[in-house]
Amino acid sequence: MKSISSFSAFTLLLALLPLVGGCGSSTAANKSGAPAAASSASGSKTPVTLLNVSYDPTRELYEEFNSDFAKHYQEETGTPVTIEQSHGGAGKQARAVIDGLKADVVTLAIAYDIDQIAELTGLFPKDWQKRLDNNSCPYTSTIVFLVRAGNPKQIKDWDDLVRDGVEVITPNPKTSGGARYNYLGAWGYALKKFGNDEQKARDFVKKLYEHVPVLGSGARDSTTTFVQREQGDVLITWENEALLALKELGAEKFEIVVPSVSILAEPPVTVVDKNAAAHGAQEVAEAYLKYLYSPAGQRLAAKHFYRPSLKEQADPEDLKRFAEIEMFNVDEVFGGWPEAQAKHFNDGGIFDVIQEEIASSK
């Protein structure tokens, strides 16, 4: 953990070993267009390139946002910007930045991954999350259930997931950052239901995972298992993923069930100061993130199924999709990500113990 070079040596090694050969493919960076900037780059200012390292489900959002921002920024300042996008599993993306990928901004699924970048590289201050409004989350989401059309198992709330004969599909929280919200959502619900009794919450979560026949390695993996492979009765998923699934697959095949209470999913953003400063992109990077909070950015977030943090900026039509729901967040209930991670998800944490108990009882 001492130097970047030993990390890169390790990455190189991982890339070479067939052992983990499969993991490299998901982080392929794809250039996404900023055609407006490219075609009208006649201004006198030197063009700037920005690399936004993000996670999987934001692909469509940033594709649209990037070209919008490039146009806006050039109009405002005369500087043409090209934005490159990289998508992949949040944890893998964070590790790529730690290992030396020159991200100017990171827009990831959970604060924990960005904390780790700050911790291990010092590329930006550890209190990064205070730098932008709303805990640096320009948009949020929550955890909902996707069920098959007609809701044949009559799933209404978290309680119904642990009924006999119900099979639940959710990714493995050890390999999927997003799935940690699923787990914490169930835990928080149980705490509330049983008057903050930790033991009862643990039993509830254990019971829930007894109903999980397949643990996907990532969010999209589990969505495929539920949708294409037709496994399970209910998929626990981020609201934006559920809405996207409805749009892509047809609203006649699936429906969304909103539980009585759920967890606020906060995907934060930050500028990677030292990377951006190294090629004179600090200013653009900051403007880029600020633009996410602008009416245009908020509208796009809502359009792509994220809950805008400034509701009044978004299109009221888009807002209709988001059901009123009582939410708690990780800080309130779990004392923040570092604590939640250590207690539940690290090796030997509660998730591991629960899984071992389930396995030995079968």
Binding site: L13, L16, L17, P18, D221, E230, Q231, G348, E356
Partner: protein, 279 residues
């Protein structure tokens, strides 16, 4: 070997070729592997042992090495049949089938995994008929083995083909004329001749299977203690930023794999010698 040392070779310069070999191997194999060992050495014995001997990790070793051995064995048998068919018979479409053998090499492993899962899950083409019979393939160790058979098949076929092509029919005829029945000819003449190649194919298929990640994660279901392969545990350690722990498990896998491959190599050497002695 040592006798060949001074002999004239087609390519001149033992110094240059040896130097090249060492440099090349160091850059792409030895140095990265050394980095892996160094990384895990940072842990200290107690932590290293803790990282590599947890019940989940041990369960994953059993599954990974078990499924890989079974898959390699299946490949050795059926790969032989495929290679035999392709070498010994002429039939329309032979070239196409021959080319298809390499497809598991070319396909991104994730694609193979997803395709296999689609076909063998409970609503898939085959899965829907197997499920009523009580055979679950996707999301079980059986599915993992299936994926490993898929990715390992080309190794056996491709190493056996030249060996079978070199096999002279005269020796089979000689065996027959000396009174050997078909079974004796097969076990006493054919098998010993191709055994070194078969062992190489087996070893390659095994090695590939042990390290496989992409295709397996989609079909395995990733249930801790039951269908979790070691590579997945390495990934989940990395996901916790526990690089040293991931390196420690990798070191164990490397060491065991190296031991297995070395044993197979020795066996092969022994088999080759015995066969030559028999001549």
């Amino acid at each position: 070997m040592s006798k060949n040392f001074a002999k004239r070779q087609v390519l001149p310069g033992f110094g240059i070729t040896m130097g090249y070999t060492v440099t090349y191997l160091s850059l792409i194999v030895l140095v990265p592997l050394a980095a892996l060992f160094l990384k895990s050495a940072g842990l200290g014995w107690a932590d290293f042992w803790k990282a590599v001997s947890g019940p989940r990790v041990v369960a994953s070793y059993k599954l990974t090495f078990g499924a890989s051995l079974v898959a390699a064995a299946v490949n050795a048998v059926f790969g032989f049949v495929v290679a035999w068919t392709l070498v010994r018979y002429q039939f329309p479409g032979k070239r196409i089938i021959d080319a298809m053998i390499d497809l598991p090499f070319a396909l991104p492993t994730a694609v193979s995994g997803i395709a296999l899962t689609a076909v063998y899950s409970s609503h898939g083409w085959f899965g829907q008929y197997l499920e009523p019979l009580g055979i679950k393939v996707a999301y079980t160790p059986l599915g993992i083995t299936l994926a490993l058979v898929f990715i390992g098949l080309p190794f056996v076929v491709r190493t056996l083909q030249p060996a079978l092509a070199d096999l002279e029919r005269e020796s089979e005829e000689a065996a027959a004329s000396l009174g050997a029945n078909r079974f004796q000819t097969f076990t006493r003449v054919i098998i010993p001749t191709i055994l070194p190649a078969l062992l190489t194919g087996f070893a390659l298929s095994l090695a590939r299977a042990i390290g496989e990640y992409g295709s397996v994660v989609f079909i395995s279901g990733n249930m801790p203690m039951r269908t979790e392969i070691t590579s997945l545990l390495i990934i989940s350690k990395l996901e916790q930023y526990d690089t040293a722990g991931a390196a420690a498990i990798s070191v164990v896998m490397l060491t065991v794999s190296f031991g297995l491959l070395l044993a197979i190599n020795l066996l092969q050497h022994f088999a080759g010698r015995r066969f030559q002695g028999a001549l």
